[in-house]
């Protein structure tokens, strides 16, 4: 799991920001090290403590460093010069609170260092979107899937839509799979399903249909895992798959609670999706059909 190092002038500020982010992590949290304040409890930063924090936070998957401003940035840069041995480290140019929030969620979901760093950097977007303003885009969009092996669609039913926590669940579900997975809605272009921030940026609300496209090794399993996040934790609905020949069939038999959920989902429901509409499977490039699940 990618480690997180938080560099701040203030230990209080750093710990509070970490606490805020950890509210979003239901399961095991990533290693988070705080290097904040001076040894005599003043406001300030210390490059040697940042270096120690990087060493402690790295379990082999690398470290994302989130800084507040000024000397925090300089100290983080100098810390790289002080590391006793190389660590894969990314100094992330993120807004502090939003960056920690996004980085912790992404790391907890098993995202790799690239995704953690990108999510943190782009985390300001959610606020800008809410305020109908733009922030400079640093996003390098993942390449689109031109010919997905599997496409599935499912309707969002939970009242809050795909907010941070459901997004993190989706990302976590994909963690051990190599498949490329993209999710889009009718209103939003496809985003990488491995990024909690990207999935959140869909702004998917109850009633929206998520289109899930997957390709590569484990594509079928990836789609299944997302679909398994169907409301209320009941057994997965049966799926009747529909081929590209155009034949259609009821895609699933939603559970009773899932049917009712679209109007009043149980508040404790941890889920995202229900009313699976269709799963298409397409021949793979070598001509074999892939079976989801």
């Amino acid at each position: 799991m990618v480690g997180i190092v938080v560099v701040s002038h203030s230990a209080d500020l750093a710990h509070a920001a970490v606490d805020l982010a950890l509210q979003m992590v239901p399961g095991s949290a990533p290693r988070i090290e705080v290097a904040a304040g001076t040894s005599d409890n003043r406001l300030g930063t210390d490059a040697s403590r940042v270096a120690e924090a990087i060493v402690t936070a790295d379990d082999g998957d690398g470290v994302a460093v989130i800084m507040d401003l000024g000397s925090a940035v300089l100290s983080a840069e100098m810390a790289l010069e002080l590391l006793p041995e190389p660590h894969e480290t990314r100094l992330v140019p993120a807004a502090f609170a939003e960056g920690i929030f996004a980085a912790v969620i992404a790391a907890a979901a098993g995202a790799d260092l690239d995704v953690v760093a990108r999510d943190a950097t782009e985390a300001l977007q959610a606020k800008a979107t809410q305020l109908d303003q733009d922030v400079p885009q640093v996003n390098v969009a993942p390449p689109p899937i031109t010919r997905p092996a599997i496409v599935a669609e499912a309707t969002v039913v939970n009242r809050a839509g795909i907010h941070a926590r459901p997004a993190a669940l989706i990302v976590a579900a994909l963690a051990s799979l190599e498949a490329q997975v993209m999710i889009s809605t009718e209103r939003s272009a496809a985003v990488a399903a491995r990024s909690p921030t990207a999935v959140m940026s869909l702004g998917a609300r109850p009633g929206d249909v998520l289109r899930i496209e997957a390709d590569g090794a484990g594509a079928a399993a990836a789609v299944d895992r997302i679909l398994a996040l169907v409301c209320d934790g009941s057994p997965k609905p049966s799926k009747v798959r529909t081929g590209p020949d155009g034949s259609t069939a009821p895609a699933c038999i939603p559970s009773e609670s899932a049917q009712g959920a679209s109007s009043a989902p149980p508040t404790e429901c941890p889920i995202l999706l229900s009313s699976l509409i269709q799963v298409f499977e397409f021949p793979t490039r070598n001509g074999q059909s892939r079976q989801p699940g």
């Binding site: 001076t38 300030g44 210390d46 490059a47 000024g70 000397s71 300089l74 100098m78 002080l82």
Partner: protein, 219 residues
């Protein structure tokens, strides 16, 4: 301070390097209030306090051990500053001394060329760390012209004393030249035009470093 006689020397001993640091400590303490006043105008009002704390920690550290090699000396200075200053001057001066020590290696004395190598490496480190160039209203505006002046004296056959004297004068002139500049780096850059009319505190503390060097090597 002052008890080491240096007359027309061509090399600088470790003891003289330590003397330089002691003199710098004394100048920082003496000018602490002024540095903080400068920083209160365009920064966060802690540069004098931070540098005084940092250099006091450096001297305490040096008093407790015998360092025979320039790289060990300057690495100790760098790490102590980094751990005790807190503000941006910690990593900036820290990088300066760390790179200085890397450039000198385990020398037991520095000739003019080795001194210039160390100072040049320190300047390059500060520029790399702070991303500041001459004219951005930072410590680079004192450091860079000081090194250029020393280089020029040495090139023209001047001795060490003449070089550090020219370095001091150029650092002071560079410091004073920051007054009309618009800050483009550091906290003062948030003030933009409002930083005009104030001397940069980082340039002021850097000029003290060259005053200390000149005072130690010219008697």
């Amino acid at each position: 301070v002052g008890d080491i006689a240096i007359v027309a020397s061509t090399v600088i001993s470790i003891a003289q390097l330590i003397d330089w640091l002691r003199r710098y400590h004394e100048l920082v303490i003496k000018n602490q209030a002024e540095l903080t006043d400068l920083d209160s105008a365009i920064g966060d009002a802690d540069h004098g306090i931070n540098m005084a704390r940092g250099m006091t920690a450096v001297i305490d550290k040096l008093d407790g051990q015998h360092l025979a090699h320039a790289n060990d000396l300057f690495k100790t200075v760098a790490m102590t500053l980094v751990m005790s200053v807190g503000g941006a001057s910690g990593p900036l001066y820290g990088t300066f001394f760390l790179r200085f020590g890397s450039a000198t290696g385990p020398a037991v004395e520095l000739d003019t060329a080795a001194l210039m190598n160390g100072l040049d490496a320190g300047l390059a480190g500060i520029i790399e760390r702070g991303k500041a160039q001459v004219g951005d209203k930072t410590m680079v505006d004192a450091l860079s012209p000081a090194l250029a002046a020393m280089e020029s004296v040495i090139k023209n056959g001047g001795d060490l004393a003449a070089a550090v004297t020219a370095g001091r004068d150029a650092a002071v002139a560079g410091r004073d030249a920051t007054v009309p500049m618009i800050a483009r780096k550091g906290r003062a850059s948030y003030l933009g035009e409002r930083s005009v009319g104030h001397m940069d505190p980082g340039a002021a503390s850097m000029a003290l470093l060259f005053e200390a060097l000149a005072a130690g090597l010219t008697g």
